[in-house]
């Protein structure tokens, strides 16, 4: 990888790595009596490893100007691999957490293995580790192809990718160490949050610079979504994470937002993390890989406009549906509920746009598991957004909130939509990136597809059942108008569903492992294809796979 950097970039890379090491050292010294020590050392080590890698390749021959006539795909390859490693890690943690909920003694007598600490390693591992890397990798790919422009330089993309993975590593190791702000999906502490801002600003600048160099007059829809993802996540992240550290030698900080305002800010963030990380970004992915794989034009450009702006505008109002009937004032709840209802239209418009794009390619859907991944993903996208809007209605939420129904909804979206669209995109992307005729084993893709689908269905149905039973048991009254069940009664009723969920999750995890294996074998396979897609000029549709 270093060989693709110019001399100046190598110098800069070394400089940045050293600066990171020094920051790590400073944190370690300042936090020597605090868990911060371990993170300081981790950052120091990370910086040193990066410095070493840069120095190791420092004297290699610098790339010539011929590089400028090719797309820059090296970081994308790394991003795909990182994403899959995080996927296996994060889903393993998910299965472990699921198993602990059924068999609580599946933990060590050590603080790090308790459910409360493992759970955020799962959510962060899958959302930010798997999802984030997948988004960064595919966005780099998509923006180059659809702009017919190469990334402007070599270093910033690596900085974004490696820096982002350092963030994930600090976040996840922090939860195991008990370093957390407790804000869901933003648990990482102040220093990691600051680092992520640096990474994210670079990401944004890189994206804009690439777009500015585009040879296509119009910006393609996928890039609208990627842009919205990058921009809004930056806004959300900064506002929600404003905090005062106990001292520069403490990992711990206190958020500036108090009580009810904190709840609103947190769920404005939390909901839109779903919207712009798990939805907008992945719609960007869908808008490129689905039409490419199906070899069909997008069903409707005008529908794309409607859904994009609908999603961007409406979503930002909907966060308060996480706080129905709480101490948050009624008026905010009404806004959250009404905007969630209106949001259904653009959401379904994008799901519909995707599915109708397949018109004329349904025979491919039947034969090609890769395309089927994407098709089912669009279905689950439609399903989970419908479910979301439904759950946002106050009386419905009075039943679903706090229960496993939410967890079922989350995973209909996360497994059925986010993970499946990613797998489908990766199976399309990997042969292109590594210039192979096709994936190593189409049969394994088929296996993966059925495992993933079965896993998702088992998971989601188990949680719908348990969630609704739980919600109903909590509010069932006897004939005398007193509560019928104690809390523990409901807990006992959950057990079979928790076992089923763990099993469904295990199937899904096995599928992900198969995917990683298939990708690695594709990279190793000698079956090279002629390069078709690495030159910034309009390539034809002949992409891999078919």
């Amino acid at each position: 990888m270093i060989s693709t950097l110019t001399r100046t970039e190598r110098f800069l890379a070394l400089w940045i790595s050293m600066a990171v090491s020094i920051c790590g050292l400073a944190l370690a010294i300042a936090g020597r009596e605090d868990p911060l020590l371990i993170h300081g050392l981790l950052i120091l080590l990370f910086g040193l490893v990066c410095s070493y890698i840069v120095m190791f390749g420092y004297e290699e021959k610098a790339p010539g100007t011929e590089r400028l006539s090719l797309y820059y795909d090296e970081p994308i390859k790394a991003g795909v691999i990182f994403a899959m490693i995080w996927a296996v890690f994060g889903m393993f943690m998910g299965v472990w957490v699921a198993a602990q909920l059924a068999w609580p003694d599946l933990a060590f007598d050590a603080p790090w293995s308790g459910l409360g600490r493992l759970r955020p390693t799962h959510t962060t591992g899958v959302i930010f580790g798997f999802g984030g890397n997948a988004l960064i990798a595919t966005s780099f790919h998509v923006v180059q192809r659809t702009s017919r422009a190469r990334l402007p330089d070599q270093l910033s993309s690596w900085f974004v990718l490696v820096g982002y993975n350092m963030y994930c590593l600090i976040a996840v190791s922090g939860y195991l160490l008990g370093i957390t702000q407790s804000k869901e999906y933003a648990e990482s502490e102040w220093y990691a949050d600051i680092w992520l801002v640096l990474v994210w600003v670079t990401y944004f600048v890189l994206y804009i610079r690439t777009l500015a160099r585009r040879k296509e007059p119009h910006i393609y829809v996928a890039n609208w979504y990627f842009l919205a993802f990058i921009l809004v996540v930056a806004i959300l992240h900064i506002v929600n994470n404003l905090a005062v550290p106990v001292s520069l030698g403490h990992a711990k900080s206190y958020t500036v937002w108090p009580g009810v305002q904190d709840a609103m800010v947190q769920w404005w963030y939390g909901h839109n993390a779903v919207a712009f990380f798990l939805t907008s970004g992945f719609l960007g992915m869908l808008y490129y890989y689905l039409p490419v794989r199906a070899q069909r034009p997008i069903f409707s450009y005008r529908l794309s406009i409607l859904s994009f702006w609908g999603i961007t505008f409406f979503y930002m109002w909907a966060g308060s549906h996480h706080l129905h009937y709480t101490a948050l004032p009624d008026w905010v709840q009404t806004l959250g509920m009404t905007f969630s209802i209106m949001l259904l239209v653009p959401s379904w418009a994008s799901a519909g746009n995707a599915l109708l794009t397949l018109n004329g390619a349904w025979h491919r859907v039947r034969d090609d598991a890769t395309l089927r991944f994407m098709m089912i993903a669009a279905v689950f996208y439609g399903l989970s957004t419908f479910e979301g809007s439904f759950m946002a209605i106050r009386p419905v939420n009075s039943l679903s909130h706090y229960t496993d129904w939410t967890i079922g909804h989350v995973h209909a979206g996360a497994l059925g939509w986010v993970a499946l669209i990613t797998f489908g995109s990766f199976y399309t992307l990997v042969p292109v990136l590594w210039k192979r005729r096709q994936m190593y084993s189409p049969a394994l893709i088929e296996w993966h597809f059925w495992l993933a689908l079965a896993g998702t269905l088992i998971y989601v149905f188990a949680m719908w059942n348990s969630g609704i039973i739980q919600g109903l048991m909590w509010r069932t009254y006897t004939e005398e108008d007193t509560l019928a069940y104690s809390f523990v009664d409901s807990l006992k009723a959950m057990w079979p569903y928790y076992v089923a969920r763990a099993f469904g999750g295990l199937l899904f995890l096995i599928g992900a492992i198969i995917c990683l294996y298939n990708i690695l074998m594709t990279i190793r396979s000698p079956d090279k294809a002629e390069s078709r897609d690495d030159v910034p000029h309009p390539a034809d549709l002949a992409l891999a796979g078919e």
């Binding site: 909920l101 609580p104 003694d105 007598d109 308790g114 459910l115 409360g116 939860y175 957390t180 702000q181 407790s182 804009i208 777009l211 500015a212 119009h218 910006i219 609208w224 921009l231 809004v232 806004i235 005062v244 550290p245 106990v246 001292s247 711990k252 900080s253 206190y254 500036v256 937002w257 108090p258 009580g259 009810v260 305002q261 904190d262 800010v265 404005w268 005008r302 702006w309 961007t312 505008f313 409406f314 979503y315 930002m316 109002w317 308060s320 706080l323 129905h324 101490a327 004032p329 905010v332 905007f339 909130h401 706090y402 229960t403 939410t406 909590w474 007193t482 809390f487 807990l491 928790y498």
Partner: protein, 250 residues
């Protein structure tokens, strides 16, 4: 027409960026800013007490261990929740909470009013191994809490940081944080009157984990659990819930 406009917008990356920022900012501003300006958002509660340093330390352990992943601290304005858990939660009850711990999932029961519901010894036994007391429980065991000494040397810094974000701790509270934490879990020591004077007569001073010789994380966490729902009476005064009529038994 709009399509024509959009085609223009699509040609400008910067224009597109600005349009996204504009479209995405409105919702947050309209929903968040008024929460600071509309007075009735947070009720008045003159009797509101502050977390003592020990309770704050316990709260930080609650955060660290991720108890919020399974426990809510927000009783909704629904009849069954009031019947089960007590008066619904008010905004003022978390006005000094940075962060709030309302939670989003109830794998375990709501804890907003658990303070004083059980004894200290029960909490210690339960946290040490929940299935010893509740065989059906799927809550993790937290055995190490009782064997881990509580870090108190930096509590003044914690209180100072809390003050920076708006919690009205006094200079004296900040200064004496460490001593106060120690005294609160050691009822027979000299520091006790100071704790009561600074944090109010209702402050619970006890050897929470049952052992006085050592100040452990168990002390802090139990002290925190025992204060939940008891920093102010506002929720009891504000509601028609029958639970609040303390009538003596005939």
């Amino acid at each position: 027409m709009s399509e024509f406009f959009h085609r223009k917008l699509e040609r400008s990356a910067i224009g597109f960026v600005l349009a996204i920022i504009a479209a995405a900012s409105v919702g947050g501003i309209v929903e968040i800013a008024p929460l600071f300006t509309i007075d009735e958002t947070v009720e008045a509660a003159p009797d509101m007490r502050l977390y003592t340093p020990l309770e704050l330390a316990g709260r930080n352990i609650y955060v660290r261990e991720g108890c919020y992943a399974c426990h809510s601290q927000m009783i909704r304005t629904l009849r069954d929740e009031v019947d089960r858990y007590g008066p619904y939660s008010l905004a003022v009850e978390s006005k000094n909470d940075h962060p709030m711990l309302w939670g989003s999932k109830r794998t375990g029961p709501d804890l907003a009013r658990v303070g004083d519901k059980y004894g200290d010894a029960w909490h210690v036994a339960h946290l040490t191994y929940p299935r010893d007391v509740v065989p059906e429980s799927n809550m993790p065991a937290y055995r190490w809490l009782a064997r881990t000494e509580l870090r108190i040397d930096d509590l003044s810094e914690h209180l100072a940081a809390q003050r920076m974000v708006g919690v009205p701790y006094t200079d004296e509270m900040v200064k004496d944080a460490r001593a106060d934490a120690y005294a609160q879990a050691n009822p027979d020591t000299d520091g006790v009157p100071g704790v009561m004077q600074r944090y109010g007569d209702e402050t619970q001073v006890r050897a929470f984990d049952g052992v006085t010789s050592q100040l452990t994380e168990m002390d802090a966490l139990v002290a925190y659990l025992q204060i939940l729902g008891r920093l102010t009476d506002a929720a009891h005064k504000n509601t028609a819930a029958p639970e609040t009529s303390p009538q003596p038994l005939d």
